[in-house]
Structure formats: C-alpha cells, structure tokens
C-alpha cells in the first residue's frame, strides 16, 4: 500500500470492502516508522500494542459496526492524555509521567475504534513554531532534512506526511496545527474556540488553545473534526459546533446554504486584508497566494479587499496573554504532585531546582515573561491592555464578517525554514503572524496545501471563518484542493 497517498476516506472504503485489514494498515504504518522514525524523530514513543488495537478494530469491522474512523491509524501529539500511557509534552519535567485518565477527544476516538500509533514530538509544552524546543531533539522536515517541520505540532504533521499514520491530532494556540501542516504539504484545522473539548489537553494558554486535525485532505480533516467536536461537561468552555448539525451562529444566508452540499461555497465573498500582507512575506508565497485567489474567483467566489487595521497587533497581544496564562498553568509543575522532582534540602529549593532543571529554555523564558506581565506595577500596562486590545480585534473581525464570509491570507510568511535559523525569539514568534489572529479572535481556520516553491517546499493558503463557520471553511478549502496535481498529497 502506498500510504503517502492513502487518505482516511479511501482507507475506510478499503477496510469496509475487505480489500485490506486494519492489521495490514497498521503494519504498513509501522514499517514506515521502522524505516524513517530514527532519521525524522517523529515519535517519542510508538505504542507496543498497535497490532492488538488493529485486531480489535478488525473485529468491529467484521461485525458490521464500523464508523468512518474504525481501524484508522492516528498519531497523537504528546500533550494529549491517553490513560495508562506516558505523556510528556516533550518536556524533561514530565518524562516519566503516566496519564491517569483519557482526554475527551481520546475517549471519543477510542469509541470510534481508532488505532493509536504513538505520541508525537512537539515543542516543549507547545511553546514554539519549529519543534526545535523539544527536550528530545528536533523533528526534521521530510521534504528537506535540513529544515524544520514547523511547530509546535511538528511530529504530528511529519507522521502524516511520511505515511506513519493516516491522520493526527495537534493543538493550536497560535498556529501550532496550521503552520506545521503548511510546512509539510498537509491540511491543518483549528476549530472555533470551544468547539472541541480540551479536557485532558495539557494547558498552554487556556483562553486560546484548541485541539484539531492534521490530515492529507480537507475531507479527512472534516471526518476527524466531526468525531471529536461537541460540548463536554468536563470543559466548561466547550460548546456545540458541528458541521453536520443545524447551528445558529452564521447569520449570512450564504453561510447557511453551505451546509447544503459540496459546491455551495460558490458565491461566497472572501476578504483579503491587503495591508496586513504588505511586509515580510516571501515573494513566492505571495505569488502562490494570488494564484490561489484567482482559482477561487474562477470557481465563483467573490474576492474583495478588506481592512483590519488592528489585526497586526494580534501577535503582540498573544505574547502578553499566552505567557501570562502559561506561567499560571505551569505553576502546577512543582515536583510535589507528579513528574520530575529534584533532590534538595528544603521545600523552596526543591521547587526551584525542579523547575530550573525540568523546564527547557523557551519554557523558562515564557514563565518569566508571564510572571512579569502579571506583576504589580505592570499588570495594567501589559495584561489589561492586551485583554482590551484583544476585545477590539474581535470586534473588528465581527464587523468585517458582516461583509464577507471568509478571510484569506497565506498560512505562513515563508515556507519551512532551516533548523537553527531562528535563534532570536522574536524572529521565531513572527512565523505565526498570519495564524495567530484566528486564535486571538476565537475563529475557526484551515490551512490548505497549494503547491510548492522552486525548491520543492510546500506552500499553503489559510482561510478563516466567523465563529461556528466550519462548514464554510471546509467547502471552500475543497475548491482549492481540486487544483492540486494528483499524487502531490505529501
């Protein structure tokens, strides 16, 4: 089986028609892992019961009780808890931590009969855009081993791109699903804030984090999203947003009609924030973006220029709110309740040594930054101001969504960059400039592959929708996907 071209959709059909078994599918994934995991550093752990899980799935398929994800091998980012298995957030401080419960998304996927291949490498505690901050070494980009796969969900993206799993879960706080998907020629989707339960996801920025899929096709992303979405009493921020169910938010008639079928995005109005794209974007990225817009226009979409004057502040807002929330969330790693604990003569020294030795450099930096922006004398100037600006940015998006159905930008300002290239933290942070606004404004967004540059590196197009506008995202992203040459999925 050529796993680099096999989609979840095709695999489900193959399984139901008995063309191959779930066991065969899992064995082929394991073979690819065997061949390339050492070189690419994708999995922190490959589970030792993959074939046993596959046998269970085969029984379900034989009994006729299968659903679209039964027997499908998926890779899981190392910050999502699976009961009884290690979960480290790619950090030394949790290197030997074993999860004592299932995340809600895992429970749902278990019920669906998914095969969990293993836990994937990531930036430590999801803090990064390149997977280089992992305590267990960087993941490599399969298109060019000298380049990063993006991050923080870099391992999840490479697992799918190199045929080690058919799909993956990532988490997205500023672009951590969409940017690695973009760098690896895949589809990445960040749902509306609250659409997917975060119970069992290790928290980074609680007012921003979302779990979502990384897949080869838009249809596959929709299959996983549908399986994991929904309100959950264990995550008070979760709400029901499902692409298949009637849903009250989208007020524009064209958005409502999007549920009717595949081609219903014809006639959508897509806004392009030109001012925002004027600086720091790679010329090939920009050219590819314009070509993609033309394809959408040719397909019947209306493309208009829009102005979002405050959106450029999204990244600055993010680098105040996220460290503030992270410094609070990571206070739990104290060497007392779980994880690594350093030896020291007294309690205070245990705290300081545990956190000093257990956390990596980027994590220490963000905890310190968060402590600073929340400290007496700076709280108003930073945290409160950023919260207020966030409110204004959200308001600005709401106003624009009265005129347009979707907003388009490139997913990232450049294709995959070199390992070790971005030493200065701010230059690394700027890699999220186009993805972070959707997180700040709680919006759903998807990144879709749109060809390659002259060096063969994948390029990507991002669409954002209003809150709850997932169906519009999927139907429009499918139009772009049709233009990808066959066999160019990975």
């Amino acid at each position: 089986m050529n796993l680099s071209e096999l989609t979840i959709k095709k695999a489900t059909i193959g399984l139901s028609e008995k063309k191959f078994s779930a066991r065969k599918l899992a064995e082929d994934c394991l073979k690819n892992i065997e061949e390339r995991n050492k070189e690419l550093n994708v999995f922190l752990e490959v589970f030792d019961d993959v074939l046993a899980q596959a046998d269970v799935a085969d029984k379900i398929i034989s009994s006729g009780e299968a659903n679209p994800l039964t027997g499908i091998p998926l890779a899981i980012k190392d910050n999502i808890l699976i009961k009884g298995r290690k979960c480290s957030s790619a950090s030394k401080i949790l290197e030997n931590y074993t999860a004592s419960y299932d995340a809600t998304v895992i429970k749902k996927l278990k019920d669906a009969g998914v095969i969990f291949m293993g836990r994937t490498n990531m930036d430590e505690f999801a803090m990064g855009s390149s997977t280089e901050s992992s305590a267990f070494g960087p993941t490599k980009n399969p298109f060019d081993l000298s380049r990063v796969p993006g991050g923080s969900s870099g391992g999840s993206a490479v697992a799918v791109a190199s045929g080690m799993a058919l799909g993956a879960l990532g988490s997205d706080t500023a672009g951590s699903i969409r940017q690695p998907a973009a760098f690896c020629g895949l589809v990445g989707m960040k749902p509306t804030y609250g659409a997917v339960s975060r119970y069992g996801l290790m928290a980074l920025g609680s007012s921003i984090d979302q779990i979502g899929p990384i897949t080869k096709t838009v249809e596959d992303a929709e299959i996983i999203f549908t399986a994991i979405a929904g309100a959950d009493s264990l995550d008070a921020t979760s709400v029901d947003v499902s692409p298949t169910e009637e849903f009250s938010w989208p007020s524009r008639p064209s958005l409502r009609s999007a549920r009717a079928g595949e081609n219903s995005s014809v006639g959508f109005t897509i806004g392009v924030p030109r001012d925002f794209l004027s600086e720091g974007v790679d010329p090939e990225v920009l050219k590819n973006f314009e070509e993609s817009l033309e394809k959408l226009r040719a397909a019947g979409c209306k493309i208009i220029d829009i102005s979002l004057p405050l959106v450029k502040y999204s990244l600055a807002v993010y680098y105040i709110l996220m460290p503030a929330e992270a410094s609070t969330n990571l206070a739990r790693y104290d060497g007392m309740r779980f994880g690594f604990s350093a030896e020291a003569p007294n309690l205070l020294e245990v705290y300081k040594k545990t956190r000093g030795e257990g956390f990596g450099r980027e994590v220490r930096r963000r905890i310190m930054l968060g402590t600073y922006v929340l400290s007496h004398g700076y709280y108003d100037a930073y945290y409160n101001k950023a919260t207020a600006v966030r409110g204004q940015i959200k308001h600005e998006f709401e106003k624009v969504f009265e005129k347009v159905d979707l907003i388009a930008t490139p997913t990232a300002p450049t294709p995959a960059f070199k390992l070790g290239e971005k030493i200065d933290p701010v230059s690394m942070y700027l890699s999220d400039i186009f993805t972070v606004p959707a997180n700040i404004a709680d919006l759903p967004a998807v990144s879709v592959p749109t060809g390659k540059n002259k060096d063969g590196l994948p390029l990507s197009f991002q669409l954002m929708a209003s809150i709850g506008g997932e169906s519009a995202l999927f139907s429009t992203a499918r139009i772009l996907e049709k233009y990808l040459p066959a066999g160019d999925l990975s």
Binding site: K83, Y97, T98, S100, Y101, D102, K107, S207, S233, L234, A236, T237, L310, Y313, A316, V317, Y319, I320, D334, G335, M336, R337, F338, F340, S341, N346, L347, L348, V350, Y351, K352, K353, R355, G356, E357, R361, R364, R365, I367, M368, L369, T371, Y372, S375, A381, Y382, K385, A386, T387, A388, V389, R390, G391, Q392, K394, H395, D424, P425, V426, Y429
Partner: protein, 98 residues
Amino acid sequence: MELKDVEKLAELARIEMSSEEKANMLKDFKSILGYVDQIQSVDLSTNSSVEKLDKINIFREDVLSTSDSQEDKDPINTFVSIAPQKQDGYIKVKKILS
C-alpha cells in the same frame, strides 16, 4: 529592565537559573518587550464598549459523578500513585516549618 529585575522574576517564578542564563534572559526580554510594547499605541478611547471580553462563567454543582472519575474505582490512589514521594496513601512533601 535590569539584571536585578530578572533575578526577582526568577525568584517569584521559582526557577533556578545560572547567572549566564539570567544575562541572556535580560537580552531576550528587551527584544520581546520591545516588540509587544507596540500595543501601547492602540487607542482604546474610540470604542470603549468592547473593551471587556464577552466571556461568561459556566458553573456546575460540585458533585462527584462517574464521568468525573471515568469509572476509576479508586481515584485517590490513582492521584497519589503518580506523586514523586508518597507514604501511607498520602503525598509526601518536605517540611514547611523548621
């Protein structure tokens, strides 16, 4: 910001750091704060009605249910078992009063 501010923050955040790292941290902070300081130029006076985020609290009764414990027969033992140090079913910590 000065080196002594970084030292104070490291103390507050309970993170032990070498003096070399503190110096590097100061450099990084100047660069990051230099970037995020751009939000100070945003004028909030024109649209004060949306200053506050439209977040609401969602409460539930504080009762143990099976979905909370996910059919875990002995949640207390599960909780204690993952602690670095434990004794007689309790998490063991260093003494606080000397």
